[in-house]
């Protein structure tokens, strides 16, 4: 009972902080941090989508930036080619759909491999797409492209940082809830079973390939949403969003936050970006510190930051 209550106390405090954050930042005269908080939430969404693949399904992908970047480019291209369609209700679902379809294609090929080969083939696909966008001169080539304004959402002014933040927060909460349901569902249990012992799952009669493919499509679609939101936050997209260091960053976030844990994506993205924010003020070589942090987590808290909380709760 106390476990239950303490857990809800944590959750309640977190939700309350998230809800009043823009007012809090304004009151402290730190408006800049509202956009920062949106950035954290978008990365958290991206990391949570990857966590479904890596943490739950055991498929270590180093090409997640492909789905994220393509989602962002969908918003950018729609804004340039068909500004009348750049309503959030059209452009964002389009980004989700295109990234999901891309994940279907990449997944159908990559999932024929396992382990290190899966890492390499997902990396290769993402790098190919990176070069595709570098060479797309019509959309800025390697300079990327600026987006004139954020997508339009009826009744809301997304140019306002606080409004945009709340939209991102709502979408993040919705996706996290859906991921929680999915993880605890029949499908989620099969996925976890495949991670544990794929040969056994095959011999029980599960067509594991199909389950893994559906997981990649869901994961890629959510990553596409994260990309669409990031394109809106920055009003700018560039091929760098598809570059492999982005895939690496989000993988680091997942490991930092907690593989397979529901809150791992948020904890990892929050810790990573906060650390970056604070440490870059001290030294441009902040990634040395990040490396130390990652080593510490891998050796002393293999369940990640979210795992530390889980253990204390128990």
């Amino acid at each position: 009972m106390t476990v239950f209550r303490r857990r809800h106390a944590w959750l309640g405090a977190l939700v309350a902080l998230a809800l009043v954050f823009p007012q809090l930042a304004a009151w402290l005269g730190q408006d800049f941090y509202v956009a920062f908080a949106s950035r954290v939430l978008i990365w958290a969404l991206l990391a949570s989508s990857l966590n479904l693949l890596v943490g739950v399904g055991g498929m270590v992908s180093l090409g997640h930036a492909a789905f994220y970047g393509v989602g962002a480019y969908v918003v950018g291209i729609v804004a340039t080619e068909a500004p009348q369609l750049s309503a959030a209700l059209i452009a964002w679902p389009a980004a989700v759909a295109v990234s999901g379809l891309l994940a279907l294609a990449i997944g159908a090929i990559s999932l024929r491999t396992r382990g290190v080969y899966f890492i390499m083939i997902t990396l290769a696909f993402a790098q190919m797409l990176f070069y595709v966008f570098v060479s797309l001169k019509a959309y800025g080539g390697d300079d990327g492209m600026a987006i004139a304004r954020r997508s339009a959402l009826p009744g809301l002014n997304l140019a306002d940082e606080a409004t945009f933040y709340y939209v991102v927060l709502a979408l993040f909460a919705l996706c996290l809830y859906a991921l929680a349901r999915l993880t605890a569902s029949r499908f989620g249990r099969v996925l976890a079973g495949i991670k544990d012992n794929e040969a056994r799952m095959e011999s029980l009669g599960y067509a594991t390939f199909r389950f893994k493919l559906v997981a990649i499509v869901i994961s890629g679609a959510v990553a596409g949403l994260a990309g669409a939101l990031m394109a809106n936050l920055n009003t700018y997209v560039s091929p760098n969003m598809l570059y492999w260091d982005q895939s690496g960053t989000v993988l680091v976030m997942v490991i930092l936050g907690g593989l397979g844990s529901l809150w791992g994506g948020l904890a990892g993205a929050g810790a990573y970006l906060l650390f970056e924010e604070l440490a870059t003020a001290v030294t441009p070589h902040w990634q040395i510190g990040l490396g130390a942090l990652l080593l510490g987590v891998v050796f002393f808290a293999p369940a990640g930051i979210a795992g530390l909380f889980a253990r204390r709760r128990r």
């Binding site: 349901r181 999915l182 605890a184 569902s185 029949r186 499908f187 989620g188 249990r189 099969v190 976890a192 079973g193 544990d196 012992n197 040969a199 056994r200 799952m201 095959e202 011999s203 029980l204 009669g205 599960y206 067509a207 594991t208 389950f211 559906v214």
Partner: protein, 251 residues
């Protein structure tokens, strides 16, 4: 009893220069307990792999329940009712014992492409899982992590996983492997209890168990079936006696 459930025709598998399966034609009738014996290296596990679909034969065919399943992947054969237990324990180590079996039950009760409803709240899965656990004597271990079980309990869980899919045919690959005397006795009793209600293919080293349990026995030597018959026929077969590595005491 006379209906043929599983049949292989001229099955062959070669690993480099080694002919691990050599023109194996085997028939298993519905309802029987058929034992496959043979000295170490005879190719028993290779043959089981080809029956279960984890290994593709180079030649020949596998027929199951009247259907040619040679080209079917392991999961497709399993879905048709061909369940196997592994010689080397293979369970979901990170799952609880009950979750292991519930996942096996889930494989044969409706679509698993359900994304919203909590699987832990599906009572029919846990009810059936508990019933299967009871039938193998693991009902008290349901809440434990499968990775923490003793060797004997692992073997029982292996059997439970295979049983939970309500198979037409159970391929038991050395269910007694590595067990102590007492654990073996328990396993023999368990398998004896399955006879009649299940069709079994038992791959086993323990000759006492084989002669006790099997209705028919096939002897595999160097990839070839050299004899098939009842226990008495096998015992009396001179070719078996001479080929079986001089282990006459065992027979």
């Amino acid at each position: 009893m006379n209906e043929i459930l599983l049949e292989t025709r001229g099955l062959a598998k070669r690993f480099g220069g080694l002919l691990a399966t050599d023109a194996v034609s085997l028939t298993i009738r519905r309802g029987e307990c058929h034992a496959l014996i043979g000295p170490n290296g005879a190719g028993k596990t290779t043959l089981v792999g080809q029956l279960a679909g984890t290994l593709a034969p180079d030649a020949g065919s596998v027929l199951f329940a009247g259907r040619d399943v040679t080209a079917y992947a392991a999961h497709k054969r399993a879905a048709l009712g061909l369940a196997r237990s592994f010689q080397i324990t293979s369970v979901l180590a990170g799952f609880s014992v009950e979750e292991n079996v519930a996942l096996a039950v889930q494989a044969v009760s409706g679509s698993s492409f359900r994304f919203w409803r909590r699987v832990a709240a599906e009572e029919e899965l846990s009810t059936r899982a508990l019933a299967v656990l009871r039938s193998v004597g693991l009902e008290r271990a349901g809440g434990r992590r499968a990775g923490e079980l003793s060797h004997g309990e692992h073997r029982q869980l292996e059997l439970a996983l295979a049983l939970a899919t309500r198979p037409q045919l159970l391929l038991l690959d050395e269910p007694m492997a590595g067990m102590g005397l007492e654990e073996s006795q328990t396993m023999v009793e368990l398998i004896a209890g399955l006879k009649g209600s299940h069709t079994l293919l038992l791959v086993e080293h323990d000759m006492d168990a084989v002669f006790r349990l099997a209705d028919r026995i096939s002897v595999l030597v160097a990839g070839r079936i050299i004899a098939s018959g009842t226990g008495d026929e096998i015992r009396a077969n001179p070719e078996v006696r001479s080929a079986y590595l001089g282990e006459e005491d065992a027979l």
